[in-house]
Amino acid sequence: MRSKNPLRFIYATPYAAWLLLFVLAPIAVIVYYSFFDLSGHLTLANYRNFFTSIYFKLTLSSFWYAFLITFFALLISYPTAYFLTKTKHKQLWLLLIIIPSWINLLLKTYAFIGLMGIYGPINGFLEAVGIGNQQILFTDFSFVFVSVYIFIPFMILPIFNSLDKINPTLLDASKDLGANAWVTFKRVIWPMTTDGVKSGIQVVFIPALSLFMVTRLIAGNKVMTLGTAIEQQFLVTQNWGMGSTIAVFLIIFMFLIMILTSGKKGGIIK
């Protein structure tokens, strides 16, 4: 450090200050609060409470729904991103897919209440094709559907970028060497896009764990997530200690997921 340019230190200061103020300090405050009970005594009771059946079940169900959301988002996004790279005006198509993510989440969610209602257009269609009126709103299906819709742009973007970077000559080479389409995908395309898929999973799975407005508006609180529980603890119960404890666990889970999804680069072939 001493021998290096002293300016380097100065250049780094804003970033260091930013990390300290807006990343480390808030986490420290959350951890600090998690050790206090309602009357302000230092305690581990919140952590003990977290391991009771309610919160354990809540964690499991959060993970299950986050998994479902990520799975379906990936299932839809990968082929979409693939075909996008094949289109003529790919940047324009990509933009059209990204634009909905600029609209406020709450507005989109409210729109779905209308769309999925008993007298909404989706049920109108089901009626017309003879399936008949269904209760769509306030079901597991509606929750996963709306969440997948919300997260798709975030999944498509990194996958699209990694697909787009693939040098087309590699695919030609694969073909020349006798690989059929499936083998080319399995041995060439997929390994080169795993990084995109991993970052897609990160940006979907982690926020999906803590979704909260959608659980009430679309699932009618029949689906509960850790995010809902945190919101309730802070706003209704006013037990900041317990809310912080759940948040601490959420942060731990996020770190674990980051570690799991950011392993070695490059995949199978080096």
């Binding site: 209602g117 009430r216 009618g220 209704v236």
Partner: protein
């Protein structure tokens, strides 16, 4: 790099300009001046014409902001920042704000119109002698139902919510005390019960209601009921009044076992910088004619007896929203149970919601 720097510069310039304009506007409209008061109220909870009338009569400009939960409102008052002069907490929130020393004691000599309030609604346990608060509106918790979508159920008893004919039809409000309260009421226990035994019994019973529950939501229920999307809802009387005014098939009933009697109350928070203006505003709102106009607009029940003669008889003689004193005997006002017990209620409610399918 140069492009980045210049665009960063443009952003900073634009933000600075906006900040400056905002500052100018606030000063021009007198937002921080002496002749303004800031009123912090629930959404859709006042006739906006009355605000104009007050401004004209008193020459005081009203800045009007709204909130959607007591907790959110208290949070903002506690932080300070905005100089709220008048706000409208529910009864348990009055108690919490008093404990946190967020309220100014009221000087009744500056509110002569307070005499119009029905003595029945004064001096209640959450604020003895009305030291800090005056009731603004009151109401009950009951069942709103759409007879055209049902098969003749009438809901005279809370027990009817457990009836198998309501499978996947019932909408509950996302609030622990109201929902557990249904069960407590049906078992004949107090709505302010703190006995773990009673609460356990109540939530066990509540869990058997699970198959009937279609959703647990907030204010969205009003629109769902109006659009015939839902047929039965546990709701507050004022919300039911909104539904009824838009959809003639909807009715509201308070089951006979009893219900919660709730109040929203005018208070002056400690953040007030124009206390005199706040008193003028409170006194204005308690004027019989003003209160009558306000109650007709908002749809909740007014505690102002002198206002009743100015209102449509159809409203004031409606037993659903102005129950007589005999019916009120079974009503119970929420007490502040303390954060510990509130936590118990909410945890039991969370467990109930997680069991829903």
């Amino acid at each position: 790099m140069r492009g980045l720097i210049s665009s960063a510069f443009v952003i900073i310039l634009v933000s600075g300009l906006l900040l400056f304009t905002n500052y100018q506007l606030e000063h021009k409209t007198g937002r921080v001046g002496k002749d303004t008061i800031t009123v912090y109220n629930w959404g859709e909870y006042i006739d906006p014409d009355l605000l104009k009338q007050f401004e004209e009569e008193e020459g005081i400009k009203v800045i009007y902001e709204t909130f959607d939960s007591n907790e959110g409102m208290m949070g903002k008052i506690e932080q300070g920042g905005t100089a709220y002069d008048v706000t409208v907490p529910s009864e348990y929130a009055v108690q919490m704000m008093e404990e946190k020393d967020l309220l100014l004691p009221l000087d009744f000599s500056k509110i002569p119109n307070v005499t119009h309030i029905d003595p029945y609604f004064m001096n209640l346990p959450f604020d003895p002698d009305n030291k800090y608060s005056i009731p603004y509106f009151w109401g009950t918790v009951g069942i709103a139902y759409n007879a055209s979508l049902l098969e003749g159920q009438t809901f005279e008893s809370w027990e009817s919510l457990w009836d198998a004919s309501l499978r996947q039809k019932l909408i509950l409000v996302d609030s622990a005390r109201e929902v557990i309260g249904v069960s407590l009421n049906s078992l004949g226990y107090s709505l302010n019960s703190t006995s773990l035994q009673e609460l356990k019994e109540a939530t066990d019973k509540l869990e058997t209601m699970g198959p009937n529950v279609k959703a647990v939501i907030g204010d969205e229920v009003t629109q769902l009921m109006i659009n015939n999307e839902a047929s039965v809802a546990l709701t507050w009387s004022g919300q039911a009044a909104d539904m009824i005014s838009e959809n003639d098939d909807i009715n509201y009933i308070v089951p006979e076992e009893g219900s919660n009697l709730w109040f929203d109350n005018i208070v002056i928070p400690r953040t007030s910088t124009n206390v005199e203006g706040a008193y003028k505003f409170i006194n204005f709102m308690l004027d019989p004619k003003v209160a009558a106009q306000n109650a007709e607009y908002v749809g909740y029940s007014t505690p102002n007896t002198a206002a009743l003669p100015f209102m449509d008889e159809e409203i004031t003689e409606d037993e659903r929203f102005y129950p007589d004193e005999k019916a009120r005997e079974n009503f119970e006002v929420y007490e502040n149970l303390g954060l510990e017990t509130l936590g118990v209620y909410n945890e039991l409610f969370l467990k109930f919601k997680m069991g829903l399918r």
